[in-house]
């Protein structure tokens, strides 16, 4: 166990110094009314710079990232995060910009954002992009608010329902609820696709829209998409595209061509911006022309050679976050698109899909494959057979840690029992995929021999299996300082 930084604290030790100043310095008691002042110090640590450096270096050693090893994490697209993107995003000409500087002094930033909008519009087949949302979930919320504003503007106010497949990510129904909609779940059919007849029955005059991930979370392309779009559009609803799985379709097909009206992209998935241990990401949204007026403000507009922000958009849903978006994340995505180019992006989807199918082909005899032996960029296998032998999916996932892999997404989608959702991405080599498959096959053999060993994994990590139930029942959310 690493000590907490607070436990390393020694009175009088420090890692920071202000420069001398000629400006007269007054104490806080002289500057402020005593009733505004704090009575006791906040117990931040007292440590040296080397203490801090060693501590956080040690913590980094207790952490797994894409640079550490393979991350076949379904629907998360944990591909390689190119180093050059980190470098260019750290240029002072970007990091040291104040968001309220005069437009003349930020033309490079605006040009980059404007061009990124153009590229993302092209990639998705949409007409306009807003880079503002911080993440996929915020993009969903913004996109659904755009849908709501569109119906409201047309005085079509009885449209209160959003349809969501039961295989959807949890954020879809959660975002729809936050945007003020009721949620209707649409069952998947036995092939893992939206049940078109069921959809026809559920849609109608109260339908505001349908949220869909395509390929869906089972890694299957909804091949009835044109019929689905027709059903929704015919009843007056709009189609929302969750871009979580956009890696599968880059250069192959576009949500705009499938009939979607609103799209969000996760730049931290498809466009290689690092996940940062949980964020920041970025979740731009794209819309078709008829929804343009409702996009968040400000818009970036180009007049002649000059770029500027325009806030004067009376039909806009307003702002969903401060300022203009996660700019440094946008820079990385821009750099990635410029690096890959048109041809490179197409190779991304080809190889992501090839890799996924290869892993699936090698695993299908040992593990249950509930939805056939073809997939897009990811696929779902079931650990039901292994469960009967005595080890569950959680055990398999934790055992993979012992082999040096981050496990797949597990127990999702909810419609598959003992689900393991595997997405290898295009940046992994065949030998990495082979080694990973070998590990899963070996674990299968281990379960036949000694399921308990798998159920009690991991055995080699810095801590053993952690008790999540205990953590939730008796929440300890901060350090308890000794008196």
């Amino acid at each position: 166990m690493s000590k907490l930084i607070f436990e390393m604290s020694r009175p009088g030790r420090r890692a920071f110094e202000l420069p001398e100043t000629e400006i007269p310095q007054k104490s806080s008691a002289e500057l402020f009314n005593s009733k505004s002042l704090r009575k006791s110090d906040a117990r931040l640590p007292e440590v040296s710079e080397l203490d801090v450096v060693r501590h956080f270096t040690e913590l980094s050693n207790r952490n797994f990232g894409v640079d550490t090893g393979f991350y076949p994490l379904g629907s998360c697209t944990m591909k390689y995060n190119p180093k050059i993107n980190e470098k260019v995003a750290s240029f002072e000409g970007f990091t040291e910009l104040h968001p309220h500087q005069p437009a003349d002094s930020v033309q490079g930033a605006l040009e980059l954002m404007h061009d990124l909008e153009t590229y993302l519009a092209e990639i998705t087949g949409m007409d306009f992009i807003s880079l503002q949302p911080s993440a996929g979930a915020q993009g969903e919320m913004a996109g659904l608010m755009v849908i709501k504003a569109y119906h409201d503007k047309r005085r079509d106010t009885a449209r209160t329902k959003i349809l969501c497949p039961d295989s959807a990510h949890g954020t879809n129904p959660a975002s729809a609820a936050v945007a003020g909609f009721d949620i209707i779940n649409v069952k998947s059919n036995d092939r893992g696709m939206v049940d078109v007849d069921e959809l026809r029955k559920l849609s109608g005059e109260d339908t505001a829209g349908l949220m869909l991930t395509n390929p869906n979370t089972l890694g299957l392309f909804e091949k009835d998409i044109l019929e689905i779009a027709e059903i929704i559009h015919d009843c007056g609803g709009l189609l929302y595209y969750d871009g979580a799985n956009a890696n599968a379709i880059l250069g192959q097909t576009r949500p705009g061509d499938m009939g979607f009206d609103v799209v969000h992209l996760n730049l931290h998935k498809t466009f290689t911006t690092p996940h940062g241990g949980g964020g920041p990401g970025a979740g731009p949204i794209g819309v078709k022309e008829r929804l343009h007026a409702f996009l968040p403000v400000p818009w970036i507009e180009k007049t002649g050679d000059k770029y500027e922000f325009n806030y004067d958009k009376p039909d806009s849903i307003g702002k969903v976050k401060s300022l203009y978006g996660n700019f440094l994340v946008l820079i990385r995505a821009y750099a990635y698109i410029r690096t890959m180019g048109k041809e490179g992006l197409k190779q991304v989807s080809e190889n992501a899909v090839l890799n996924a199918n290869y892993v699936l082909a090698r695993l299908k005899d040992a593990y249950d494959v509930p939805f056939g032996d073809r997939c897009m960029h990811e696929f779902v296998i079931s650990g039901e057979k292994q469960k009967e032998m005595g080890a569950n999916t959680l055990g398999i996932a934790k055992r993979l840690l012992d082999y040096g892999y981050h496990p797949p997404t597990i127990y999702f989608p909810l419609i598959v029992k003992e689900a393991m959702m595997i997405e290898p991405t295009e940046t992994e080599s065949k030998e990495t995929l082979d080694d990973f498959v070998d590990a899963l096959l070996k674990i299968n053999a281990e379960i036949e021999e000694d399921p308990e060993m798998v159920n009690t994994a991991p055995h080699t990590t810095v801590v053993r299996r952690l008790d999540e139930v205990h953590a939730a029942r008796h929440p300890v959310l901060k350090y308890d300082f000794p008196e």
Partner: protein, 448 residues
């Protein structure tokens, strides 16, 4: 094949054999022919790393940043000094290329760092619990309104003071769109919340009151008075604040705050043209299980060793779907890590010193501006690191003039409050030296 894709032609062949296909295109056969994308893409061709770096440098050079200019602009984003160790440590790729730490056994580094972050946020705010961070201070405030709303039965009025960052008000409005809520705004008087108006507006239908201190104008509000009124009305108190100010100022918990939120960008994160920053979110005990976002908790492993996990996940969207308390999924973990490292480096004494230096620098700047005879105090209230003055001039032109002379001038208040013509909101951090301030104030006086 592109350099980020390792498959060779012969490997691709082997893989296709294993799958049982002749061409990769077969794998895309489920996409209807009429929506297959042709070759019409307008995307430019790919660039080598060498070309890209030149291109990106050109774009960066079209900006003139606070690296080249001296910044006296704040309005929610601040030009504070960031010790070198912050970037050195956050750029360790075990941190920045990691996924969300759901697999706790291989994510103890991020989890423990967040646990330390939560502790520091609680120390500064005086609250009982904090989450693992959110997108920004503005959306964290809106989330606090949302949580207050879902937990308050039968009440549906949220009161927002006009002295909070205007963007916060705008985003709260967006987030509340589609909910059964009445949003009311209390005007400001002499730069702080109109307390009498607030008292009159508070009633037994009020869910929550949202104030900011130091507020948008830099002024320290009368939190005790506001806290008492809110308590009397049985409403929740949401306070947006600057964590740095809490190095010396009284924690909002002492005024009875139920939620303390804000943007922690000033602690170790660059201005970055507005993002990514991070929102912090702290609350009193009774709201812990309603808190939005990720939370890290301490636990033990099967051998009794201490460790950390993401906890109370049953609040979250991936479990509760449409019944979740918020739709938020990610946190800004890497920015929270930067703030944690920053707070560790400045430490217990440094946070007070930085806060105090900002306050002293700001007072000196204000004094020197007034000395020019061209500026007068706009509100004359106690402030932290930012203050408003007034000049008989067009602030837009003043800022443009200063820009040419190497300075980023203050925020033009007329942009958000048309009746504050000539109002200039000036922020002064610990980075500004006496020479810079003397020069800036003199040039500003000359330019008016």
């Amino acid at each position: 094949m592109h350099r980020y894709i390792p498959n060779t032609e012969s490997e691709k062949k082997l893989m296709m054999e294993q799958i049982g296909i002749q061409s990769i295109d077969e794998l895309f056969s489920s996409i209807p022919e009429e929506i297959r994308h042709g070759d019409g893409s307008i995307l430019p061709p790919g660039m080598s790393e060498q070309e890209l770096i030149v291109h990106m440098r050109e774009l960066a050079m079209k900006n003139i940043s606070a690296y080249d200019l001296k910044c006296f602009l704040g309005a929610g984003t601040y030009d504070h000094f960031i010790p070198t160790a912050v970037g050195a440590l956050t750029s360790r790729s075990e941190f920045y290329t990691a996924y969300t730490p759901y697999q706790a056994e291989i994510s103890q580094g991020v989890l423990q760092a967040i646990f330390e972050y939560q502790t520091m946020v609680c120390e500064l705010t005086g609250m009982e619990a904090a989450n693992a961070s959110m997108y920004d201070g503005v959306s964290a405030t809106a989330e606090a309104c949302a949580i207050a709303l879902v937990t308050a039965r039968k009440r549906n009025k949220i009161i927002v003071s006009a002295s909070i960052l205007p963007e916060t008000r705008e985003v709260i409005k967006t987030y509340m769109n589609g909910r059964d809520v009445v949003l009311l705004e209390i005007p400001f008087k002499d730069g702080e919340t109109d307390y009498d108006a607030l008292e009159k507006t508070l009633d037994d239908n009020t869910v929550a009151v949202c104030i900011q201190s130091p507020n948008f104008f830099g002024i320290i509000e009368d939190m005790d008075r506001v806290g008492e009124m809110i308590k009397d009305a049985g409403a929740a108190m949401i306070v947006n604040t600057d964590l740095l100010s809490l190095g010396i100022l009284k924690p909002p918990s002492e005024a009875g705050a139920d939620f303390v939120v804000g943007d922690a960008q000033p602690l170790g994160n660059p201005m970055a043209f507005g993002g990514p920053h991070l929102g912090f979110f702290a609350t009193s005990g009774k709201y812990i299980r309603k808190m939005p976002g990720r939370i890290v908790g301490e636990t033990v492993d099967t051998e009794g060793e201490k460790g950390y996990v993401l906890t109370l996940q049953t609040r979250e969207q991936h479990i509760r779907r449409e019944k979740a308390t918020s739709n938020i999924c990610s946190n800004h973990a890497l920015n929270a890590l930067a703030s944690t490292i920053y707070m560790s480096l400045v430490g217990k004494e440094g946070i007070k010193e930085v806060a105090l230096r900002c306050a002293n620098n700001a007072r000196y700047t204000r004094e020197m501006l007034i000395k020019t005879g061209k500026f007068s105090d706009l509100f004359g209230k106690p402030f932290f690191k930012e203050f408003a003055v007034k000049a008989d001039t067009d602030i837009k032109i003043l800022n443009e003039d200063l820009h040419k002379l190497g300075y980023i001038g203050g925020f033009n208040l007329e942009k958000k409050f048309p009746w504050l013509e000539g109002g200039w909101l000036v922020a002064v951090t610990e980075k500004r030296t006496k020479v810079e301030i003397d020069d800036f104030t003199r040039l500003a006086g000359d330019a008016v």
